[in-house]
Every structure is written in C-alpha cells, then in structure tokens.
Symmetry: C2
Subunit: 411 residues, 2 copies
C-alpha cells in the first residue's frame, strides 16, 4: 500500500482519533506485526507535542501459547503492573490518551479450551477496572484504528494470494475510513455532522423505549433511562477536546436502562469473541436480563459471553447504524467488531458508557445502578441490524415515533 496514504492514516489516528494534546502522553497498544505503523503513529504524536509515547506491544502467538500452556492459577493472576502501565500515565497531571491498533487474527484462539480463555479474560477484566473507568468516561481520550495482518486479510478475502488479500483489505479500510487524496479531517466533517444531528434529535425526544423489529424474528423492546444522552461521531473529553474513539464510526448510541429490555433479538453477523467466532444466534431478555439464548455455532462461547459477570447478561449500549453506512455498502464482512459494528445496528452486553446519562461520569456505582446504567467488566458489541429493521421510538406518554424504517433513519 502507498506509504503516503498509510502516513496520512497514522496522522489522522493521532490527531483526530486520540487527539493528542501538547504535553500529553500517548499510549499505543500495538501487536508486534504492526510495529511499522506504531512507529509512524509515535512520530506523529511527538510532532503533535506529546510528552512521551509509550508503546505496549503484544504478540498474539505468545498469547495463544499462554492460553494453551500456562498454569491455570497463572491465568487468574493478572499482576497490577499491567493496569499501572496505563493508569500511571493517566493519573499524571498532564494526562494520557490511548491509541489501540487492531489487527488480530479473528480466530487466534481456535481450538483452545474456551473455559481457559474465559477464565483469563475475566481475570484481566477484573484487574483493569480502574483503567476502564478512565477510558469509558473519556478522561483518557482513546481511539481504535485497524491495519491488515496476513491472517486477518486471509479471513476477509479467502482464496486470494496473501499480498493481494492484504492490499484489498488496506483498500477497504481506507475506503470506509475516508482516507483518500483529500484531507481526512475534512472528509469526516459531513458524516460527523449527520451523526451529531441524529443524536441531537433523539436527545430532544427523550424517548422512554425503543422497539426493534425485523423479519428475521427480532422483536425487542429496550427501555431507556431518564436523562439518557445519545452520542455519535466524535466525542469530547471532560476538558472539551474532540476525539474519534472508533475509526471508522457510523453509529449513534446511548445506554439502555439495564432493567428494561424485553423480547428476542437475532444476530445478523458472526461475532468474534475471545478469538473465536460465534455464529447465527439469538438471545431472549426478561426484565433486562438474558434468560435464554441459542447459537448455531459456539453456543458455549455465547453462554460464557453473557455470564462473564452479572452485568454481562444485561445491555450496556444500543447503537443505531443505517444500512447505507459505507461499511455495510462495502459488502465486506470484516470479522472485526470495529468495522462490523458500523455496518449494522448493534447492542452491547456489559458495561455502559457513564457519559450516556446526565452526570454519569461523576456517579458512584450505587447511583449508576439507581439510574439503570449497566456495570460490568466487559463490553461486547453484537450486530443485530438488518436491511429491513424497523425501530419505533416510544415516548413516556405512549406515542410512537418512527426512528428507523427499512434499515435506515426514518426522517
């Protein structure tokens, strides 16, 4: 791929994604095979005045080896230094922001005992509570940006020679991330404006619930908490700095009332969970909680997903994405949530973003509970939007307001 385009993408990720401010530390999470891109991001961050760039490299092959061979007790024992390697910079007076490079083999843990993976994922989530607090409240600005790897490219474009598959994945990424010959910041102004406008409209409605239906069998009602806030497009740190948490992003989202989800919802895309694929599944809710589920493939993993902790069985996000989104129009199944969630309306099991309710960032755990804002150590986005999805908004006084019709915004 054209090196100048890759440089432009890195600059966009640093300047608009993490929105590194002079004096801030940038922490980059990078799989080692993305080192060249991580270095580009580091260069761009120093050029933007970063105090320091700290890169945490990971190696999915070593991670797989650990899942296969490490002592069970070692999987539980996530040392505090791992969280400190993030939060010690976030606590520093000049603050820190994050840039995570996504480039995983979607099936890196294929064949590994799912119970061990589950055990390790729970232990890690428990050990990262403070980190998630910084990130999910936007105190640490953050972004996720993806680049191809050989294994991921082969999964998305099977049957092609390796180099061609990787080139095609670069092209697809640049297309949906609006990286072209123009300034990407400019390219993003109109779509961000659209998302902000939709969020403003929904905020003005202050709906009591959403009712989602589709011919595939989905018939789901999601209650919304009082004073909920729809967000979308760019987000803002407590200091008011705009950043783009996901590159790309096409969603307008809020936090559901964790106690008021009822009905059945069908998945519309496979879901990569802990390095394995869950396919063709449905989930039934009562009183906000998952009471029944089924998957054609890897139902065991789906069960683990919704039982990681108490909050994992309840919803932490409802996100609206029209079927006209560039990711959906590309027709590509990316096997990567960062992209696939932006092709389709989705729900998330687990932790809600406290910023999605007024005053949420300053609420105690008890106050969040009382407000219906879900708490959990996980957050798993599952795609449920179809080309024919209809969504009705239901107001507190029982009026129906069309929100989605035939997979796209109703107005």
């Amino acid at each position: 791929m054209n090196q100048e385009a890759i440089r432009k993408y890195a600059r966009f990720a640093v300047r608009m994604g993490s929105a590194v401010q002079p004096g801030e530390t940038l922490i980059i999470n990078a799989p080692i095979h993305t080192a060249a891109f991580a270095r580009l991001c580091a260069e761009e961050a120093y050029a933007a005045g970063a105090r320091e760039v700290v890169v945490h490299y990971s190696d999915e092959q070593l991670a797989r080896m650990r899942m296969a061979y490490a002592a069970e007790e070692a999987l539980d024992d996530v040392k505090p230094w791992i969280q400190d390697s993030y939060t010690s910079y976030m606590k520093h007076p000049s603050g820190a922001c994050m840039l995570s490079i996504s480039s995983a083999d979607p099936e890196i843990y294929k064949g590994i005992d799912a119970a061990r993976i589950d055990r390790a994922a729970r232990a890690r989530a428990m050990a990262m509570t403070e980190y998630y607090k910084y990130v999910m409240s936007n105190q640490a600005k953050w972004t996720i940006v993806a680049i191809p790897s050989p294994s991921w490219s082969a999964k998305v474009f099977p049957g092609l020679p390796a180099e061609e598959a990787e080139e095609k994945l670069w092209e697809a990424i640049f297309s949906v991330c609006r990286i072209d010959e123009n300034d990407p910041v400019e390219n993003w102004q109109a779509p961000l404006h659209t998302m902000h406008s939709r969020a403003d409209w929904l905020n003005s409605l202050q709906l009591d619930a959403l009712h989602i239906t589709s011919a595939n069998g989905t018939d789901l009602t999601i209650g919304l908490p009082k004073n909920h806030i729809w967000a979308g497009g760019s987000e803002f740190s407590p200091k008011g700095v705009e950043f783009l948490a996901n590159i790309p992003t096409e969603e307008v989202f809020t936090a559901p009332d964790a106690r008021r989800t009822e009905g059945v919802v069908y998945s519309t895309k496979p879901y990569v969970f802990n390095g394995s694929l869950i396919e063709d599944f449905w989930v039934r809710f009562e009183g906000g909680r998952v009471v029944e589920y089924h998957a054609e493939k890897r139902e065991d993993l789906l069960g683990m997903l919704v039982s990681m902790d108490e909050g994992a069985a309840r919803l932490g996000e409802i996100a609206l994405v029209p079927a006209t989104s560039p990711i959906n129009r590309s027709g590509i199944l990316f096997y990567n949530t960062l992209f696939d969630e932006n092709a389709s309306c989705h729900i998330a099991f687990g932790k809600a973003y406290p910023v999605c309710v007024q005053g949420g960032s300053d609420m105690t755990a008890e106050e969040l509970d009382a407000a219906g804002i879900n708490q959990s150590n996980t957050h798993q986005d599952v795609m449920v939007g179809a080309e024919d999805t209809n969504i009705d908004g239901i107001t507190a006084d029982g009026r129906i307001i069309p929100v989605f019709r035939g997979g796209v915004w109703a107005e």
Copy 2:
C-alpha cells in the same frame, strides 16, 4: 540459518541459561525483531514446565525516538510499573527467572544528545534498584543470549550483503557458544569445569591484590576484599540450581575492594555505552576512584559513564579471560559486551555482585560498604586484557604468585 540449530540454541538458553524450573515464571526481554526466537524460547520454557512466560518486547527505534523527542521531564519519570513488571513475578512464591535476548544496533543512539541518554539511563537505573537486587544476588536466575539483527550484523561484517552478514554472525555466535551437532550441555562441561577449577584455585589463594601490566601502558593494582569469592562458568541460585548467566561465558571473576584500585588501565576494545562507541581510552585510579581519563573517541561518554553515580567511578568487577578463549580466537570484534568481554580480561565500573564475598547476599548496604563491595545503579564492563597481559597475584604477606603470563593463565 538452520532452524534446528536455532531451536537447539533456544533450548540451551532456557534449560541451561535461565534454568527454568517447573512452576517458575520465565520473563523474556526481547527486541521485537527477535520475536521468532522469543517464541521458540517461550515454547521451550512451557515444555520445561514454566508456570507462565511473560515477554517484554522492546523496540530500539521507538527508544531512539523517545531519546530524541520526549520531554526532558519524561526521561526522568520512570514509572514504577516498569520495575514491577519484573519483581512482581520474582516476589511470587514460585519465583521467576530471566532470559534477555541481546540483538541491539551497537550505534542505535548515534547522533542523539548524550546528556539526554545519560539522564534517561540514570533515571531507569534508579528506578530498577529492587530488580537489580534480585538479579545480582542470583535470587532470580538470569541469562543473556544474543541473536543477529540486520544492523548489528552489518556493523560486525561491514561490506557484505545483508543476508550473508547475518548468516556469518549466526555462524560466529554458534561457534563461540558451542552450538553444534552435539548436545551443547555436553559441549559446555569441560570449559565450565576449567573455569570452576581456576576459580577454586584463586579462592584457595585468597590474594590481597592483583597487579596487571601490559606493554600498552596498563599498570594497575586492584585490591581484593577479605573473604572474596571468585566465580566463573555456571552460577548457582540460593536454592542451588545451576545456571549460565552469560551465553557465552569464559570468565573467572570476583569483586574488587572498591577502595583499593591504583594506577592506569588502557582499553583494548571499543566499548558500546548507551548505544554509542567509546574508543581507545585509558583511566587512572587513586584510592579506588577514577581521578583521570581520556578517550580518543567520545571522551564525553566516558565521563558520563564514570559519573553516573558515586559507585560508577569505582570498580565492581575484575574478570580474567585468557587470550585463548574461543571469542578472542575468532578474531571478531562483536561490538557487543556479551561477546567482547569474553575475549579479554575486563573490569567493570559500578555495582559488584554481592555473591562475590562471603555472606554478601545477606549484607546491608552499610555492611557491603564496610566489606569494600561497590554499590551503584550501573555495571559497565570494559575490556582491558591484551595478548601480552601479565597478572601477578600479591598475597597478604607480600609474595608474588603468577596468575596470567602473556595473556593466558600462568599455570
């Protein structure tokens, strides 16, 4: 290079170098370009029963960028998580051992402001005090093993095509590390026995001092502390597990009395300090302390080396290596201390190994001072042995015992 030989080398490093015991954690320090070798070591460690393998990847290009661009204040601010990422495993009841992969570009910091590098190195050393205590007392078994990188290979074999240079460096490493068609553990028995015998002999002499001379101008007297212990070849953890801290090793070494070095010593090889080369230098001692020095190239760095802290101006090691060592016979200048120090007698500025005096591992800082065992946050090995080096042992009652004659053991 032959993959089977590389696998054999990794196994040797894990089993005889770090000597991983069942249930122990192995921590690997690996530059990212050595990932394939790090994974081999991890596989071998799990096969040996490791509880967990934790790999800390580093990236010398990012390190260079940090030296060039990070805020000055950030260079001082070495967060505690960095030390914890080692010591938290060493403190665990089942313990941890280390395997460091050396593969640096000897001149990675060429052109960078030496004062910034010095500043960063001091801060890091200060922040790693507890880590060094575990390692230098052998509580955490440790080893260093090297593999070629493109930049290092090009420095050692300039003018050759990249692949050929790398292949030649592999061959040189395997030759001096005794990796061949036989079992390397077997190959190492005789040389280890020789080193242990020399150490036993010197221990039985309990010399008061060594007097080192060479036609190049070296005329140095190094006092030895009471109850000093010569070590060499393999070492032993407090639990009695044998390990090989350096691969290769050809030295027999002890701790000098930090108060009793007198005279002048000339370097016989360039020294890689903080990613730059110091060349053709001499140092003069009075009362154990450096009082004068000169280098033909990078005298500024030599000055920084001996003034990192109070202990850096005094000696922490004297190591005897005959000119017949395989590394010296190879005729190759490796630009890597791991190899070059095993081609030549050397001295180290900075921290002494407490295990080099009886009871040293349990001594307080005050007791170490009283025993003449040098303390510092650095340890820099500098090569001073020549083909004509003579070393006399001087006993407490003034007798002269020939230790080296013409660069080799006298007896």
